[in-house]
């Protein structure tokens, strides 16, 4: 180091120090970073930094053909990739004025709800692990794998389905698939009492999670928090019900809420949602055999397809909250601009910073997992 660059560091008192959560830390999701100022065990201040996962998706999308982006967008949220491709497709369909065949809409709903189940199982595991309970984590990941088996079967890929195209879905469901969906859902449902014993009704977990990271309803609204985190603060807002898309209007499901707004409430909302998702998929499974017709409205040659000039905003309810795509076309073969409203960008930066403040070091990781923060959604 050169002398002129040297700066005297004023060392804080010994009980106050700076702690780096991430970008590589067992208590952090993805390559996220929280720079935490601590006094004793108490967090005084936190700075969130999502830049470690900046991959420039929005800019990359401007350089790709309209359908090439289908292969790109699922990467924005690894645990819950399906809403990305469905939502992007919906936005493009809106501009291009493409009608999606009914069968494709039902299949899309099934894909979205299966993805939600997988994402929630994953999040339970993560949350449990941050409170020192590793068995639920292994269970969550293992049971999620059964959902991924289903994805592998009907989309060809376990994680990144890349199953949608503007206009519909790419392949027909395999033979006997709906029965296997039913079997898997039955199994997962039968596991819930075990999860309850081990995790949700576990006194250790409840003691750890109750009262941690409380979002008041007003604060949640102020920061634009959506999804389970908002519903855990008592506001029953769900895009599926309040601004229905695809065929959600024809489906019966509850929008579960909790009042406490803390880490515990958020997890309980997700547990209830998982049950609702199973209910929705069962309705789709029952309805699909009677819904025929094509899978996809053909689009022009993708190498030359020019989506008419215009803009659209499409939103879906992902496992993290309201996910939206704002897409602008200037009438060329590539999008002029794509903006992704990642739900985590609302609750994983300022809100997270606020929530960990005043809490204890060991609750930082739990707070982040209970918010179900997905760092790549923060910085697209």
């Amino acid at each position: 180091m050169r002398a002129e660059n040297y700066q005297q560091i004023n060392h804080p008192p010994s009980h106050a120090f700076e702690l780096n959560f991430g970008p590589n830390h067992p208590g952090i999701e993805g390559n996220y970073a929280l720079q935490v100022q601590v006094e004793g065990d108490t967090v005084v201040q936190a700075r969130a930094d999502g830049g470690y996962l900046h991959r420039g998706f929005e800019k990359l999308m401007e350089q790709r053909l309209w359908i090439q982006n289908i292969a790109l967008v699922p990467r924005i949220c690894v645990p819950d990739p399906s809403p990305m491709e469905v939502c992007y497709s919906m936005a493009v369909e809106q501009i291009a004025g493409i009608e999606v065949p009914e069968r494709a809409q039902w299949i899309r709903v099934m894909q979205l709800e299966l993805s939600r189940i997988a994402a929630h199982l994953f999040t339970f595991g993560g949350h449990a692990a941050t409170t020192g309970m590793y068995s639920p984590m292994f269970w969550g990941v293992a049971d999620r794998d059964l959902i991924l088996d289903l994805f592998e079967e009907f989309t060809g890929g376990r994680i990144y389905s890349i199953y949608n195209l503007p206009g519909g879905v790419r392949r027909e469901l395999p033979e006997g698939f709906l029965q296997r969906v039913t079997d898997t859902l039955d199994y997962i449902e039968s596991r819930l009492p075990d999860y309850d014993d081990l995790f949700f009704k576990n006194r250790v977990f409840i003691k750890r999670a109750k009262g941690v990271g409380v979002t008041e309803q007003a604060m949640a609204l102020e920061y634009g928090v959506t999804g389970p985190n908002l519903r855990a603060a008592g506001l029953p807002f769900d895009v599926r019900r309040d601004d229905p898309y695809l065929v959600y209007e024809q489906l019966e499901f509850e929008v579960p809420t909790e009042e406490a707004g803390d880490a515990w409430a958020r997890t309980l909302v997700r547990r209830s949602e998982l049950i609702e998702s199973i209910r929705i998929v069962r309705q789709v499974v029952a309805a699909l055999p009677d819904i025929g017709g094509p899978l996809r409205t053909p689009i022009p040659n993708p190498l030359a397809w020019r989506v008419p000039a215009g803009e659209s905003y499409a939103r879906v309810e992902s496992s993290k909250g309201e996910l939206a795509y704002y897409v602008v076309s200037d009438g060329s073969e590539k999008p002029w601009r794509v903006h992704v409203r990642g739900p985590s960008s609302m609750h994983a930066v300022q809100v997270l910073e606020e929530l960990v403040k005043g809490g204890r070091i060991e609750d930082v990781a739990q707070t982040m997992f209970s918010l179900d923060a997905c760092p790549p959604e923060v910085d697209r």
Partner: protein, 608 residues
């Protein structure tokens, strides 16, 4: 949610002890087989793949590189390249868009998904997929094409044409031409593989002008078209479209209507504007060199056009009263309105080419004079003499050659035809004369009695299938596999054509030696028999004995070097008289000769 509280027992986790009585969840150690539609490593049927590189273009991650595989066939005319996609698995994301776009259907993904290697073998992630799989073990196809998965529109836009009943008695053009919507939809099907460019004898920039049409910029399309073809109105109508035979969309679907797209672009820009656009290519200064071209057909005029563009002074000598050559005197007007040919020629003369019609070389002017007057001379005299079957009776006055008759129709507007006519031949010329005669018969007799007899079976006809179909629609009777034996003449009157059934046309060595079934005899009544079995040139008088003697010939065709130059250093030859047999080959030949002459005149290339 009263159940979910912290009032419960601390011992609750102990209920997990019940798991001791449950069977353990175990995963087998054997590799798990992937699902049926799994997206694993690529498979590529090399025999089906044509190397069009559409997979490379759609690849989101630039993971695909087209690699030359020398042992595979490379046939430009058929639209097959020996390039095959190689995949970089460090980049591939297994989205399978390559599979869904593949025009041939050769690509699929397998159920294989494991590959590991040491640092030294890191290159093994870059693979040339074939039909055997990543490691030579076939795991079965995973993700593959289905009936509805194609991302490309494989069916062409139907060209509107006048129904048979409206066209049978007149020479108005048959096709309507594309509407803007049709042209746009047709142009949008192109994958820009460039097979058409490679297959075109004159290397037209078809992908580029199709792109321009798709972008709505017809003037730019015309600019691309005139890079390589001054006979674009003509080729937009009557080209034999080798491009479409090579089109990769045509492997499983109907190829792009490239010819009709060219017609659309040319018709969409005003004649005035086309001339302005072509003038952009004209050299600023004259070179001072002079060139004479004999014959104002496509080959001669293309040579003249090219040389004029480059600043040379060109004079074209044409023995007939109008320029155009075979397109005017050999192609009926229902296929090519002569007004469109005139437009092409006007564009050529606007480039500074002088055409002297009615000046026949060998009569008004001799080759020696041309040699002395000009720096170079080009012979582009075409093939205007019909070949004869030389069967008994073929010397009768009512046994005519197709090219002569077609020429007569153009020159005189119409000719008298008898009530019954038989045509010998199965090529496009045979169809042209048969359909022309059929129209005249309908005008003069109120009905059609024209019979086409050909040696070939119908599926092997040399004529365009569309020509055969349209001829039949217009009332022409097609008699395939008939060998002409005699033009039956009684009392000086032509009565009929006697034919035998054909067993085979070629012998075991592939030589022309027709074999007939003599028991299968037919007599086709005929007041006129027309022979359309090929043409030859008639150059003796034109060249003079001395020059004919000095030049090299092979079975009636003038021999030239690869640049189109004859053994005489001042004389080049182009078009049908050296190699044929259609407009676009003549245009290609014209370019070749013009390039050679230009190089020689500029002293860039000394004749060896």
């Amino acid at each position: 949610m009263s159940d979910y509280n912290d009032e419960g027992s601390l011992l609750r986790p102990l209920r997990a002890l019940s798991f001791l009585g449950r069977p353990a969840v175990t995963e087998p150690l054997e590799p798990r087989l992937a699902a049926e539609g799994y997206r694993g490593f690529h498979l590529n049927e090399h025999a089906e793949c044509v190397g069009c590189s559409s997979c490379q273009k759609i690849c989101d991650n630039a993971a695909i590189t087209m690699v030359e595989v020398p042992e595979l066939p490379n046939d430009e005319a058929k639209g097959i390249r020996n390039l095959r996609p190689a995949v970089d698995y460090g980049r591939c994301c297994w989205c399978a868009l390559c599979v869904d776009i593949c025009p041939t259907g050769s690509l699929s993904l397998s159920k294989e998904y494991v590959h590991t290697c040491t640092q030294e073998e890191i290159d093994s992630y870059f693979m040339l997929p074939n039909e055997t799989g990543m490691h030579g073990t076939f795991y079965g196809k995973g993700w593959q094409k289905t009936e509805t998965s194609d991302l490309l529109d494989l069916q062409r836009q139907e060209m509107g044409e006048r129904p048979a009943e409206l066209r049978v008695d007149n020479f108005d053009e048959i096709v309507d031409g594309f509407t803007p919507e049709q042209a746009m939809a047709e142009a949008s099907r192109c994958v820009q593989c460039g097979m058409c460019h490679d297959a075109c004898p004159t290397g037209m920039d078809a992908p580029e002008y199709i792109r321009s049409i798709y972008e709505g910029d017809l003037e730019q399309a015309v600019r691309w078209i005139y890079q390589s073809n001054p006979f674009s109105h003509v080729c937009g109508r009557v080209c034999t479209h080798r491009c479409e035979d090579a089109c990769s969309i045509g492997v499983r679907g109907t190829p792009l209507a490239i010819r009709w797209l060219k017609r659309y672009a040319m018709d969409g820009v005003s004649h005035q504007r086309i001339q302005e656009i072509t003038q952009e290519q004209r050299a600023a200064e004259s070179t001072g060199h002079t060139v004479a071209v004999v014959g104002a057909g496509p080959a001669g005029l293309t040579t003249a056009w090219d040389l004029a563009r480059k600043g040379h002074k060109v004079v074209v000598y044409e023995s007939r009263q109008q320029p155009g050559g075979m397109p005017r005197y050999g192609i009926p007007e229902y296929r090519l309105p002569y007004e469109m040919l005139d437009r092409d020629i006007e564009t050529i003369t606007a480039m500074g080419v002088e055409i002297r019609c009615g000046e026949e070389v060998g009569k008004q002017v001799t080759m020696e004079q041309l040699q002395q007057e000009y720096d170079a001379v080009v012979l582009a005299i075409g093939l205007h003499l019909g070949r004869s079957t030389r069967i008994p009776g073929s010397d009768h006055a009512h046994v005519r050659s197709a090219v002569e008759l077609l020429r007569q129709v153009t020159e005189e507007g119409t000719i008298e035809v008898p009530e019954e006519v038989v045509v010998i031949g199965g090529g496009n010329v045979a169809m042209d004369i048969a359909r022309t005669v059929a129209r005249l018969q309908r005008q003069q007799w109120g009905g059609v009695k024209t019979v086409v007899t050909a040696l070939e079976a119908e599926e092997n006809f040399l004529a365009d299938p569309a020509e055969i179909r349209e001829a039949a629609e217009e009332g022409v009777t097609i008699c395939p596999s008939r060998g002409p034996q005699e033009c039956v003449v009684e009392a000086g009157q032509l009565q009929s054509l006697r034919t035998w059934g054909v067993c085979s046309i070629f012998d075991q060595q592939g030589r022309f030696a027709p074999h007939y079934d003599e028991g299968d005899e037919q007599c086709h009544p005929a007041g006129m028999v027309i022979e359309a079995i090929g043409q030859m040139s008639n150059a003796d008088q034109l060249l003079g004995d001395m020059l004919t003697e000095r030049l090299e010939w092979d079975r009636g065709r003038l021999q030239v070097c690869e640049n189109g130059r004859t053994s005489e250093t001042w004389l080049w030859a182009a078009g049908d008289c050296v190699n044929g047999p259609d407009v676009v080959h003549a245009v290609a030949d014209g370019h070749r000769v013009a390039t050679s002459i230009d190089e020689v005149l500029r002293g860039a290339l000394k004749h060896a």
